[in-house]
Symmetry: C2
Subunit: 824 residues, 2 copies
């Protein structure tokens, strides 16, 4: 949990004003830069201190055996783990023989700024060595959105008051020692020295290339660096390297007011098939292109790229500057994860850490793509094209399991199942319907015919086939899907999970429609009319259990008959429950880790009446403990729809601040892409009431009493829409594209320029809402102060609160020693 | 599978006439000797060739870490594995410089005889070395029933035709290399060199002691040997030893007709707390007592012990000599497993192999104790006293799981849970009701008041408390037990398993009754009248689901709504299903590994009407694939009760021959105690129709058309009863004890001497019975030939058949080379 007054809440920047080593790990994740291909954790330039050094390339992983106390048929034999590849961001500094290390000397000033319009991380430091060498250091780092293979750093150092001897060592280092933070199962596995050296020849002119290969998975990784140095006369540059280190050393003597500036271009490439020389040349070429563009050019392209993104994606929120910052922070990280993903995966943590082993889960299709589809649709298409690329492996997995079609893995990097606990992995077949749902949404939002035919159709057909083999027609003629696990991981291996069955129905109907739209392509996939009819029959007969006694949908058949979890006897420190109770107990009782039936009400909105939604929401609200980061945003969306706007606002705060406040205590392992996406969903689908399907985009705007204005932009079917909601009225603007027929509440509007409608008052239904005791979200009050965020009271029960009193604040640490090293 | 003409079917002996190395592993299990404290696999005296060398001491185990691909709360961190302790049965022989090894030279004669009245394994061999040294070797081995710590071997060697130099080396060897047979998960884990040497000092006079300690579990093991040598003048004896070997060497020169005889006494002891000197002295003392008794004395005591056992336990079966032999073989192994168990466990394989890591499961209470209770009740009391001894660990486990009372482990040696797959381990809480059931049965059969108060009551109370915390009263007032796994391992984590709920009810009512019978003791256990009332209330409201549509009990709530397994598409080689299909598929479909609801109909007989029994039996018969050795016997019992006598006979054959025919292909790892018990159950509870409860023993005798006589003896409440069933009449004899009121069908008989009643004709109900295609038991025909058993036709689908044609037989191998070594 991040307690210290951390991030000044500039609406476009995340700014750290003091360095606190006890949250170093979290800030490494928060300040991570990525373009979806390269990911650099926000490690300090000089490498140390660090919590988790991290440099990642999308899809570079190592294999490791998965052990089982008792093996079983179909258990995956090996797992994949993201590899910390060659670190190119390392720049060490020697000040008069004293290494710059914030644990020594005095850190007079410290600032790190993640600028979400510039796409850069800037660090400004004023440090005095134990021997009195006083320097000012400024570094700016970027991972280019426009040069996929390139990162760059501008590093500047100047003496403050007297001449100093300064040596800067810019390095490439492979096989860094990665500390094990703790045994949290959500962290990644540790693979020591994953890289085998193939080439390390320092070239002339301060440029160098290193090539490695992963030991078991056999992936070749090349990293290169090239420098521009600007220093006073007599500045010397040398290059050397051996083993896993390549080093460019710049030595100079600086007078007060003089400055040494180093621009470092870093290029990365990897391949499973290309040769060492080919990969070598590839990274050298990438650096040549980067050098041609130059540092200023890279920065300008970066800003231009982001300007265009924000023009179509920005969300403005008046009155709550903290959430304003957080929702932009979320969108920025989503863009970083997806921008250059190019037919590779978007992992649950993006490329910001090794959490969850760097795997992609259903979170991507369930939460991340629903945002990218409307804000940066190309990334959604790319991520789904990755699913198509692993379709052969998903088919093989289905065959291994005795099923038809494709069974996409629960967690993976290379497409093969890595889940070592099948009740919460393999059995959670809904991931397949979630992929189909993402296809359906993307096609609806973009009318991308080529994608629909080439990517969407094969995915829809393969997943529809899976459902037909997973389900069957029971004696009463209903189509049942038994023994599966839904989104809620506190239930498993149950019959007729409503979320799964509804999403499977949607999947089956979409496959049928797509196959009929592209008959020739469908035929090539072996789809006959009888098969299409079979899909429709199964969809039509899909069993959706309903509890007449309670008037609610059971999460799965029989759920509402189970014992309700004894919340009254559960102590606050026993959350998250899965770390303190056996699955056995969790699975057999009414307790919900994360929205499941409630998520079904969001994604399959028209399958529930408003009255059902209200009753279901109230029922599950009392059972949901939010031990997952995938819950608050969905609860926000449904709370808003049902009419509990203050509650929705509270959940919005929780979703939005998941990482900036480290609410799950594992931001150190990387940021939570799905929860970051959830902030947008809570605002746009929640308060904006946005739903889109079959070419119709609908809004049902509503604001909690404490917010005065919400504005957002999104892209739909070639249009750029801007929506501005105030308590009195909602204004729809068509900023780009042909006129659009859209819906405001029940009114159809043909929008050609601008339309203004009253924002109706929304009243909560007459139904009591309560959460499990101690698991209520703290009511949110708009937060306007910006200079320093409040700390969090331990009594807050792990939830974000409004501004706390001054007694809760810690004084700034800059000016004192940051940290307390035991040795000097 | 044992295909060769293996065991001549003498009714009191298991006799092997030829040595076939490809079934060496199986015969090591079948010829294992044990008294429940010491277990010696039937390894050849000379140690090699072997499949799995094995010497076991009850409860001597080593710990090993249990690995998980994804860890979870409450997962056991370490497993226990039975340790192959110091081998004392090793006797090597050198004939004119040539080691006796059946893989070399010529094995002219070979015979091994397990004599079930003598309690010995005798081996007779005539062997000619490659150099022409021709010897006759006879060895007789016993593990004493009367000297718990002692085994003994009489080893004799004589030249056949010319003088020979003979050296016999009698050894103690620790840390034998144990080969890994294959990766079958049912086999045990391999722990290399588990023993750390503490003492190895060869003493004078051919006696020696070795003391070791297990590496992690820290158990101290002592083994000792002492010899009597009878040879011609000039016979020399030496002793030496180093490291893990202690050796007594006897060298002599024998003329044709002369004989060297060695009697070896072996003593074992182990302790977790006693010191090395104490343990040393303990085994030396055990050998002193053995020597005092002498070889002939040990043999005489052995026979006397067995005579008394058989007098109260024998089963005679006319017409089917194969099953006659098998049922005695089963009883003999049960006695071996239980005779001197003395508050330690009876593992699933007894002490005959390392299968299942040497763990005890619910099999013991579910199958083994129901036999021992009526045939050797002291062993049943001892085994339940072991459960009492691990009650503190079971309480701790319950507390860890958030439950009340005691949660006995699914599999264990030392009382701690070793199951690394909780859906089929921890979730199978019925083990607790099975223990209670064994208590209830033992108390009913013995009226052992001291046991009931001191052992039974605490066990009943602790398990009743478990059920009260596992279950709850649903909104309709029914007491539900959700999310558990019943006996059938092809379903898991389901609600209201009928077997579990019925057995829990029985458990709760018995606890209430016992607490009221011993109020002071119950009070000491903290039992208040309100708690007793709570048990009765839960029992009274216990939910027993019933499918009105089909008129059958679902195995668990919802089971009959699931898809029926596609048996038609399942190929013969895909059995056992768990090795070819994921648990996911098995759990969600109607397919049954082993009797579950059908077992409930046996153990809770009066909870079902005859019509329900018939319909249920037919329903589950069509779903049960018998991939477990715990199924055929129960199916036999119910088939007999319902009236399908030929089918019962077929299942009897399968249960009885499980190991003698190696029907599960894993007899190599040890014999299946539960299935061996099942042969008795099929005969006595099946064809005898025996049920006993609340002081009433009932019989409903019936015979399949092909059997002309079944006679059995059993002990009940201090009486020794003999029952003789022929197609015409049944004769009950009271051989010992006061008059007994018993029931023949519905007639109450007061038996003081002998009573004869007609055996009524039993007709099958008008209901169709079918098994899954290819999983039918082969119809059984009484087998009378004795000289050699038939081989098995591969087309028989893994099931035992009647006598096959002569084309199916293999010629005897004795006289040729046994085996085909690659080197000489």
């Amino acid at each position: 949990m991040i307690r210290h007054p951390a991030f000044a809440c500039d609406p476009w920047q995340v700014c750290e004003k003091t360095l606190s080593l006890d949250v170093l790990a979290q800030t490494e994740s928060i300040f991570a830069l990525s373009n979806g291909h390269i990911g650099l954790r926000g490690n300090l330039d000089e490498g140390e201190p660090h919590a988790l050094p991290g440099t990642y390339l999308n899809s570079v992983y190592e294999l490791r055996p998965l052990p089982y106390a008792e093996a079983g048929y179909g258990y995956p034999e090996s797992g994949q783990t993201v590899v910390n590849v060659t670190n190119g961001k390392l720049i060490r500094l020697l000040v008069d023989d004293e290494p710059f290390d914030v644990r020594y000397g005095t850190l007079h000033e410290h600032e790190r700024v993640l600028d979400m319009r510039a796409g850069t991380l800037t660090r400004r430091v004023r440090w005095c060595s134990p021997a009195g060498g006083h320097v000012r250091i400024t570094s700016t780092r970027l991972v280019s959105f426009t040069h996929r293979a390139v990162a760059a750093i501008k590093y500047e150092v100047e003496p403050v008051d007297r001449p100093l001897r300064v040596v800067v060592q810019s390095e490439l280092v492979a096989n860094e020692t990665v500390p094990r933070i703790d045994a949290d199962p959500r962290a990644g596995a540790l693979i020591p020295t994953p890289l085998v050296l193939e080439e390390n020849i320092p070239a002339a002119e301060g440029a160098a290339v290193m090539v490695h290969r992963t030991r078991v998975s056999g992936l070749r990784v090349a990293a290169a660096m090239r420098h521009e140095v600007d220093g006073p006369q007599g500045t010397r540059i040398e290059a050397d390297g051996e083993g896993d280190v390549s080093r460019v050393t710049v030595a100079t003597r600086l007078l007060a007011g003089q400055r040494l500036r180093l621009i470092k271009y870093i290029g990365y490439g990897w391949s499973a098939v290309r040769s060492r020389p080919a990969l070598h040349d590839q990274v050298v070429a990438a650096l040549a292109a980067a050098k041609l563009t130059g540092w200023d050019g890279l920065c300008a392209e970066q800003r231009e790229f982001l300007d265009e993104f924000w023009a179509g994606a920005d969300v403005e929120l008046e009155d709550d500057e903290e959430v304003q910052q957080a929702v932009r922070f979320g969108l920025f990280h989503l863009l970083q994860a997806g921008a250059r993903v190019e037919q590779r995966l978007i992992p649950g943590k993006g490329l910001t850490g090794s959490g969850y082993d760097g795997h992609a889960f259903w979170d991507t299709e369930g939460f991340v793509l629903p945002v990218l589809t409307y804000t940066y649709p190309r990334a959604a298409a790319d991520a789904l094209a990755w699913r198509l690329s692993i379709l052969p492996k998903a088919r093989a997995r289905a065959a291994q399991l005795g099923l038809e079609g494709a069974a996409f893995p629960w967690r993976t990097i290379n497409g093969e199942e890595c889940s070592g606990y099948w009740p919460a992995g393999t059995a959670a077949f809904h991931v397949n319907a979630d992929i189909a749902d993402a296809v359906i949404r993307y096609v609806d939002a973009t009318e991308d015919v080529g994608f629909e035919r080439d990517v969407g159709l094969p995915l829809l057909v393969a997943t529809a086939r899976l459902w037909c083999s997973l389900g069957f027609f029971g004696p009463d003629g209903r189509f049942r899907i038994d023994g599966v696990t839904g989104p809620d991981e506190y239930s498993a291996i149950r019959d007729n999970n409503v979320f799964t069955n509804l999403m499977a129905r949607r999947n089956l109907l979409a496959a049928a429609a797509a196959a009929e739209r592209y008959p020739a392509d469908a035929e090539r996939l072996g789809v006959a009319p009888e098969e299409i009819a079979g899909w429709r029959k199964a969809a039509g007969a899909m069993y959706i259990p309903y509890d007449e006694r309670l008037g609610v949908h059971p999460q799965h058949e029989g759920f509402t008959q189970h014992e309700v979890w004894d919340f009254a006897s559960t102590r606050p420190e026993q959350y998250p429950l899965m770390l303190h109770f056996p699955y056995f107990e969790l699975y057999r009782k009414q307790v919900v880790k994360q929205a499941d039936l409630v998520l079904a009400m969001h994604l399959c909105s028209d399958c529930f009446t408003p009255e059902q939604k209200a009753r279901n929401f109230a029922y599950y609200e009392a059972l949901t403990v939010r031990d997952s980061s995938l819950s608050a945003c969905t609860q926000a969306v449904l709370a808003a729809e049902v009419g509990f706007l203050e509650l929705a606002y509270a959940y919005l705060g929780e979703a939005a601040l998941m990482d900036l406040r480290d609410l799950q205590n594992n931001t150190r392992d990387g940021v939570h892409m799905a929860s970051l996406a959830g902030a947008w969903l809570a605002l746009v689908a929640g308060f904006g009431g946005m739903r889109a399907d079959n070419g119709v985009i609908r809004f049902a705007p509503r604001l909690p009493a404490l917010l005065r204005r919400l504005a957002f932009r999104l892209r739909y079917r070639g249009r750029l829409l801007a929506v501005e909601v105030t308590p009195e009225r909602t204004v729809y603007r068509l900023l780009d594209g042909p006129p659009l027929t859209m819906v405001h509440y029940d009114e159809e509007i043909t929008l050609s320029d601008e339309a203004t409608r009253p924002t109706p008052e929304v009243r909560p239904p007459d139904i009591e809402i309560r959460q499990p005791p101690g698991r209520e979200p703290l009511p949110r009050v708009p937060f306007r102060g910006c200079a320093a965020l409040p700390g969090r009271s331990p009594a807050a029960g792990g939830r974000p609160g409004p501004a706390a009193g001054p007694g809760d604040r810690k004084g700034p640490e800059a000016g004192g020693r940051a940290g307390d090293p035991e040795t000097a």
